[in-house]
Structures are given as C-alpha cells and as structure tokens.
C-alpha cells in the first residue's frame, strides 16, 4: 500500500462529514420556500476554508400528508438553482465557526404559467466544538481506543435573510426562504479506518415563534406563527482511493431522514403542516495531495414512491463544489 499520511486520511474523512452536511435536506421548493444553507466543518488543524457550490434541484412531484406520492401537473418543469458561498474559520484549537449564504434562482414553468425569480436564501451561522485533540483516523484497529470516533458538537443558527411569504412579495414563486429563525444542535461522529469511513450526523432544531402581519404583500390580521421542531439523521459510508502523488478520491453514500413536527398558529397546532423526507445521496470528492483543494460532486435523490416522504416535494439535487483549505 502506498504511504498516506494520517493527516491525509483525516482530511479525506472530513470531506465525508462535509458531504453529509452539504446534503442536509433543505426546505426548498417552489411552494415551500427554500435555499436553506447547510453548515461547513473545517478539518482538524486547518486555519480556515472557503467553499463554493452550485446546486440544481429539480422538483418531481410530492408526497401528500398521508405519504402518497403524487406527480406534478403535466407540462411542469420546476427547478431551483443555488449558489452557496461559505467560510469556516478556526477560533481555537478545538473551536471553529462558519457562515454559509446561498443565492437562489427559482425557475418554475407550468403549462399555463412561468416564473423566474431570484434572491438571497436563508443564511446559516454555525459554531462547532471538536471533542478530540489528536488524529482519530487509523490504518488498522489494534485496540478499543482505535475505534473512538472524531466527535463534533455544534450549534447552527438559520437567519431568515431569504425572501419569505411574509415579505413584500407578489407570489409564492418569489420565495427563497422560510422567514423564521431556527436554532439547531448538531452532533457529528466520524470514524475512519483507512480506506473506509463511516459518519453519523444527528441534529435537532427549533424554530422561533414570530408575529405575522403580512402575507405575500397583503396586510392581514396579525397572528403569531411557529414552524415545528425539526430533526435530521444521516448515516454515511465512504471509501477513499489513493491516486498518484497522494491525491485522493473519496466515494460516499448517504441515507438521510428529515422530520419536522406540526407548526402552530397563535399557540394552536396547525395540522396542515409537518413533513417527512427520506433521501439517499452519492458524493465523489477529489482532493489534492496537500488536501488544500477539493472538488466535489453529488447527487441527492428521493425515492418517488409512496411512503418515502410526507407533505413535501420529491426532488433530485445535483451539486458541484470546490473548497480551498488554508492550513
């Protein structure tokens, strides 16, 4: 086997974790707001990182509240394009922070109506604590201590910088965000036994209640609204292939399950809300030998059959991105 440094392994492993976060299902939809940003995680011992990615999300039907899959009207072609720019920065040996902001283009074409709108999406601010001080990756397991994962614990605040239904907008097609602050607690466990990797991401978020007096540009009788709590679990498995000159190619498969509870209006539960979305994704990440440049491509897919979601659009998301790590 070629000689690959522990650092290289860990950076490769990090990008598996990063892939999970990147594939965090957003609330994107032409009908439901969208463009939620995900979080960035900086590799251990790196100083900072910039990240840019372009996503194309194509809508293809939806699941109703009972989980039945229903196709979109004939002749419809609904897409959302997102350019996400992110920056992560090490604050201290075990602390890091990041900001990710997407710019969103909605492109909705129905047989009887077309709309193209754009605007910034909801921004994500995150802070993570790394509960480990040394490299947790290994070539082989020689004892129980070698099985200890790299653990990240963090918090993420979604800031409603996007255009929501509660702004001065004319139509649902203008919407690029949900209009609510959300605070998520995130735990990421990542283990690499070279060349294999496994990651588990768990997050739980609460939306903050807000007053509403404007709906799609029309003033209405004021009321208080809160979206439901949100939970996400993602499990990933990856394999890192060594290329020439210690470049690496990492292949990752992820299964994600997103759930959001019913929201409330004036304190009363809103039975028309709440959602569920199960999805799979595949990611390929190429990293240079120095692990300072990474090029990624991913495909997120939902199974367009009954029972794979509730009250949510079915989509396919194609993403290409590049990251630069400052050591």
């Amino acid at each position: 086997m070629r000689s690959v440094s522990p650092r290289s392994i860990c950076v490769a492993a990090f990008f598996l974790g990063a892939a999970i976060l990147t594939e965090r299902p957003a609330s994107a939809a032409s009908c439901c707001g969208g463009g939620s940003a995900s979080s960035l995680i900086l590799p251990k011992f790196s100083h900072s990182m910039v990240d840019a990615s372009l996503s194309i999300e194509k809508y293809d039907g939806f699941w109703n509240k009972e989980g039945r899959y229903i196709q979109d009207p004939p002749g419809s072609d609904l897409r959302q394009y997102r350019l996400s720019l992110g920056y992560a920065h090490r604050l201290a040996a075990n602390w890091q922070a990041s900001v990710v902001a997407p710019y969103v283009w909605n492109d909705n074409r129905y047989s009887g109506l077309s709309s193209r709108t754009e605007g910034i999406g909801d921004t994500s601010l995150s802070i993570f604590y790394e509960a480990f001080d040394s490299i947790m990756c290994t070539y082989k397991v020689e004892g129980i201590s070698d099985l200890k994962p790299a653990s990240y614990f963090g918090a993420s605040l979604t800031v409603p910088t996007g255009i929501s239904p509660y702004d001065e907008v004319e139509s649902s097609f203008d919407v690029t965000g949900r209009g609510f602050y959300r605070l998520d607690g995130i735990a990421l466990f990542d283990k690499t036994v070279y060349p294999w990797n496994a990651s588990l991401l768990l997050s739980y978020g609460i939306h903050l209640e807000r007053p509403v007096n404007l709906e799609y540009g029309n003033y209405v009788e004021p009321y208080r609204k809160k979206l439901g709590d949100r939970a996400l679990g993602s499990l990933s498995f990856g394999y890192t292939q060594s290329l020439k000159e210690q470049d690496t190619m990492t292949y990752t498969a992820t299964y994600s399950d997103l759930w959001e509870a019913e929201g409330s209006i004036n304190g009363e539960s809103d039975s028309t809300t709440g959602l569920r979305k199960k999805s799979v994704s595949g990611t390929i990440a190429y990293a240079t030998a120095e692990k300072n440049w990474i090029v990624k491509g991913s495909w997120g897919h939902t199974i367009k059959q009954d029972g794979w979601g509730e009250n949510f659009p079915a989509t396919d998301t194609f993403t290409v991105g590049v990251s630069h790590v400052f050591q």
């Binding site: 196709q71 900001v99 807000r210």
Partner: protein, 229 residues
C-alpha cells in the same frame, strides 16, 4: 436585489506551503511571549470572523425586504376600505366574473351567489397542486365542508393552462368527484383579480361582499368566517 451589490471580503491568506500538523495548538516548548503571540494570533482570527459577521449583518440589515423577517412586526397595518365599493379586499363588493370549470361548464360568481341561501358563501382556494395545497384541500374536505355544507367550494387551478390540463390535475390529485368544483383559470385572470397566489383563500358571502382574502394557514380563520355569516 441589494445583496448582489455586496462584495465579499477575502480572508487573510497565510503564505508558504509549510505543513503544520498541529498548527493551531500552542507548541509545548513555547513559554511566556511565544505563547502570548500564539493566543494573540487566535484573537486576531476571532476578530476577523467577528468583522466578517458584522459586515454580513450590516448588509442584511440594509435590505428592506429582509427586515420584515429579521425583525418581524405584529402591528395591524390592514388598509381601511370604504364599504360598498367594488374590489377584492375584505369589505368590498366582489366584481362578477366568469370562468370555466374542469368539465367545461361556464360558472359566474353572480349565478353561484344567486343560487345560494343566505348565511352561506362562495369559497375560492387557489391551488398549484403542491403539498401545502393538498394538505389544505384535504383539511377543507375533512373539517370545513362537513361543518358548513351550504357554502360552495371551488379550487382555482392557475397553473395548468387549459381545461384539459386542469381536469387531468384534478383527477391525478384525487379530487375528481369530490365536494370541490375545480375552476380552470387558464389566463390567470382570477389570480390577478384577487391578487392571489398559492393557498390564497377568498370568502364571498351571499350578498357579494368579500369577507376574507388571505392565506389558508390552518383553516381556523376560514371556519370562523363561515361561522359568523
């Protein structure tokens, strides 16, 4: 979009290709000034992030559209409407309109109201056959229509573009033969007339007055409105 004018600031890059495996940790052999310099550099990095976030916040705060969400208001700003005037705002007399349903029959507001007993209403729900729309429509079928059977309930399809398309969407979404009548707003005239969008719900009472024109939400406002007729 004001954000398109924002310039992103570039982080300070550190030159050199030297690899420092444990770079962020203070070297153990550093004492006094050395460790002080190390932590000073960390403070500088933190300050950089602070300035970056400050810049972002200022940019966001400068965008009027976003301020509604960043600092939302609960003030009642509904405009005062002169009673008896014609229009589609709450309190106004709805203008008559004609529209074709999914079976090709022409419907007019005046004829629907004329055939209706007092205390009932015409309810228009604007749909684009989305998950939220379906959730609202299902809620109406299960909770609203049984409680207020004397009113007439119409789904207004403004996306299919043809009567045939509306019929196809109605069938594939499971609303054929339901208690809804689906209207084909092929030229989006009804959408524009009521300044509507997805899930806008309009209630017009038997005397032709608009009693509600807003998002469906959880349906409680619609039920309150129908109960108060």
């Amino acid at each position: 979009m004001c954000f398109s004018k924002l310039k992103s600031s570039s982080p300070q890059r550190r030159g050199g290709a030297e690899k420092r495996f444990n770079a962020p940790q203070p070297p153990l052999n550093l004492r006094g000034g050395g460790r002080g310099l190390y932590f000073a550099s960390l403070r500088l990095r933190g300050r950089f992030v602070f300035h970056l976030l400050l810049l972002l916040s200022l940019g966001i705060a400068g965008c009027g559209d976003m301020a509604d969400d960043l600092d939302p208001s609960g003030a009642d700003k509904r405009p005062i409407v002169a009673a008896g005037t014609s229009g589609t705002q709450v309190g106004q007399i709805a203008p008559d309109f004609a529209i074709v349903d999914s079976l090709g029959n022409t419907r007019t507001l005046s004829s629907e109201l004329a055939a209706m007993a007092p205390g009932n209403a015409v309810v228009l729900y604007f749909t684009m056959w989305c998950p939220i729309c379906d959730s609202h429509q299902s809620h109406m079928l299960s909770s609203v229509i049984p409680a207020f059977p004397g009113s007439k309930y119409f789904l207004v399809d403004y996306v299919s573009g043809s009567v045939g398309g509306t019929r196809q969407a109605e069938v594939s979404n499971g609303y054929s033969g339901s208690l809804f009548t689906t209207l084909a707003d092929t030229d989006i005239s009804l959408l524009n007339l009521f300044n509507a969008t997805m899930s806008t719900t309009v209630v017009i009472d038997s005397s032709g007055i608009v009693r509600m024109n807003e998002d469906y939400k959880d349906g409680s406002r619609l039920m309150e409105m129908l109960k108060g007729l």
